[in-house]
């Protein structure tokens, strides 16, 4: 008995000797993973989101160009006054951003919903068809924008050839100041309709079957079924995907930058593009930061509204 006791005590002693600094640190680490595990993510968030916002705020109050070595001059709200009252393109760029986002949203929604309704059945080759339609989402946006540039070329592009085959007059596409926005919207509809289709299709497949059987017994017409049953039942999915797409459409940069670069004559220079050009082409870095801050506040307001709406409707 005592033998065993001594043995155990000896073991414990050995353990005590073993509990070096490393051991104690790892134990302390283990007790506090609740705080330590999220720490790297928190540091990254602070360093790459919060601190840069402070810097952005400060820069927005200065006049400063990237190229010249002259120091930044503090000009207070000068940049904002410039944007709101003197810069003719500012409000136009806001309007172009909204026009692009809403126009693309409408196209994506109508086409995406129609496709989801079409594909909401079982048929052979279902997965192949769906996969082929996903190609636009997967492909590198810059590369595909370049393909569109080639296809939209007013002289040699295939799009004008297709129009002529259909007996329609040629268009200037991205080279015309009237045609450029609808053209960019068309490209974005091509790019993102599959996403809309996929989410809405998932929604349609999850709908309960009973209301449809009841409607069939009552002899309701297809249109009635759609408007009285499908649409109301689909509402949560529709709201969700419309919000997602709207947010995303407000951010679009790559396609516009590659296809039209905001031109011709700034006819497609949305606020995103304007910020980029002011910072890196026109070299008004402080002014660009002021525009960025404005955009940030707009987005923040939209996110808050969305968040409160979501809290209400799905009690997240």
């Amino acid at each position: 008995m005592s033998d065993v006791h001594i043995h155990r005590a000896g073991n414990k002693g050995a353990y005590k000797e073993d509990s070096t600094l490393i051991n104690r640190v790892s134990e302390a680490f283990d007790r506090n993973i609740r705080f330590l595990f999220p720490l790297p993510a928190l540091i990254i968030a602070l360093a790459l989101f919060l601190y840069p916002l402070i810097e952005l705020f400060y820069l927005s109050l200065t006049r400063w160009s990237l190229v010249t070595q002259e120091p930044r001059t503090f000009i207070g709200l000068g940049n904002f006054i410039q944007a709101f009252t003197r810069d003719e393109h500012f409000w136009k760029s806001v309007w172009l951003m909204l026009y692009f986002a809403l126009g693309a949203l409408a196209g994506q929604f109508i086409l995406g919903f129609a496709l989801a309704l079409l594909l909401n059945r079982e048929f052979r080759g279902e997965s192949v068809v769906r996969m082929l339609m996903l190609f636009p989402i997967i492909a590198t946006p810059v590369a595909m924008s370049m393909v569109w540039v080639i296809m939209l070329n007013p002289m040699m592009g295939v799009m004008n050839y297709l129009l002529s085959v259909l007996g329609l007059p040629p268009s200037e596409w991205a080279a015309g100041s009237k045609a450029v926005m609808p053209t960019l919207i068309m490209v974005d509809v091509w790019h993102w309709t599959p996403f809309m289709m996929l989410v809405l299709l998932a929604g349609l497949k999850n709908l309960p079957k009973d209301p449809y059987e009841a409607a069939m017994i009552d002899g309701a017409s297809r249109l009635q079924v759609f408007f009285k049953i499908t649409l109301p039942l689909m509402q949560p999915y529709i709201v969700l995907v419309v919000i997602l797409r709207l947010i995303h459409n407000l951010k679009v940069f790559d396609e516009i930058f590659v296809i039209s670069r905001g031109g011709p004559m700034r006819a497609s220079e949305t606020l995103n593009l304007m910020i980029y050009h002011q910072a890196f082409t026109a070299m008004n870095y402080g002014y660009a930061c002021a525009l960025g801050l404005f955009l940030l506040l707009v987005i923040l307001a939209i996110s808050l509204a969305v968040f409160r709406y979501r809290e209400r409707s799905w009690s997240y």
Binding site: M133, I138, M156, C289
Partner: protein, 274 residues
């Protein structure tokens, strides 16, 4: 009866016609770019477009000979792989803790990071990265990629971690396994599906991203999208080589997604539901 059969057949014809039309609409640019990439300069600019021609691989040769293309390929791969690894190391533990002690303000923070246009953050980053010597480095590009990938990863993995039964962890703790050990040996294998989903979509995001490397990379670390864009700036009417470049940059991501198709579809569906 005959009427019914006829109606069924026309219905089916209509369905497949509509399907083919939709597929044509979405796939046409892909077919076109592959065709253009195989044409010689004369055929590429012909009006009306030539559908029958002798294919040539000259365009691909020209792209590879353009010097910085292979280098950009290497840069892209390194940045993507480093991004995926760093993302898991940072986001997995964070998502695990958040799933166990969920907090509401966090969902708002994540939502906001997903909404904000990237150009806003790029303005201060550019200045800060230059100051810290992160401009034109792999680390700088990886950091910029992490800013959208970590929130996305945490968001997507929350559901997976919540599905892990607490009893499993508690049993491991009782057996004397440390919290960290339990997390690494028990919990992570159970969310493997989520990890593959995140990496599949993360590969696509990081491979395709253009705006960050456009601003944050210089001569040394230019990635493929930037090189291809510059290429277009310099030779805007060389349709053949441009098409070849577009094919070469898109091919890896399409092949990768096709291999991981199952996870890709699930990731899109999950991302949509949340």
């Amino acid at each position: 009866m005959r009427n019914y059969v006829l109606k069924k057949i026309t219905g089916k014809t209509f369905f497949w016609l509509a399907c083919l039309l939709a597929i044509f609409f979405f796939i046409f640019p892909f077919l076109w770019v592959v065709m253009m990439s195989l044409k010689n300069p004369e055929a590429a600019q012909a009006v009306p477009p030539k559908l029958i021609f002798t294919p040539t691989f000259e365009n691909y040769k020209q792209v590879f000979n353009a010097g910085d293309f292979l280098n950009a390929f290497k840069n892209s791969f390194i940045v993507v792989l480093l991004t995926l690894a760093a993302n898991l190391i940072v986001a997995l533990p964070a998502a695990y803790i958040i799933a166990r002690w969920r907090q509401k303000w966090l969902s708002f923070a994540i939502l906001f990071t997903q909404m904000a246009p990237w150009i806003i953050f790029l303005l201060p980053w550019y200045i800060i990265f230059k100051r810290l010597g992160l401009y034109d480095t792999y680390i700088g590009l990886v950091l910029s990629n992490l800013t959208y990938l970590i929130p996305f990863t945490v968001w997507l993995l929350l559901g997976f971690f919540e599905d892990v039964p607490k009893e499993i962890e508690e049993a491991a703790w009782l057996d004397g396994c440390s919290h960290t050990g339990t997390f690494i040996r028990m919990v992570i294998p159970l969310v493997k599906g989520g990890i593959i989903t995140v990496c599949t979509l993360g590969f696509m995001f990081a491979w395709n991203i253009f705006l960050f490397p456009l601003v944050l990379s210089g001569y040394r670390s230019k990635t493929l999208p930037v090189i291809v864009y510059n290429f277009q700036n310099d030779n805007s009417l060389d349709f053949g080589p441009l098409s070849a470049a577009a094919v070469l940059i898109t091919l890896p991501v399409i092949v990768f997604i096709l291999i991981n198709q199952k996870y890709f579809s699930r990731g899109i569906a999950l991302g949509g539901r949340k």
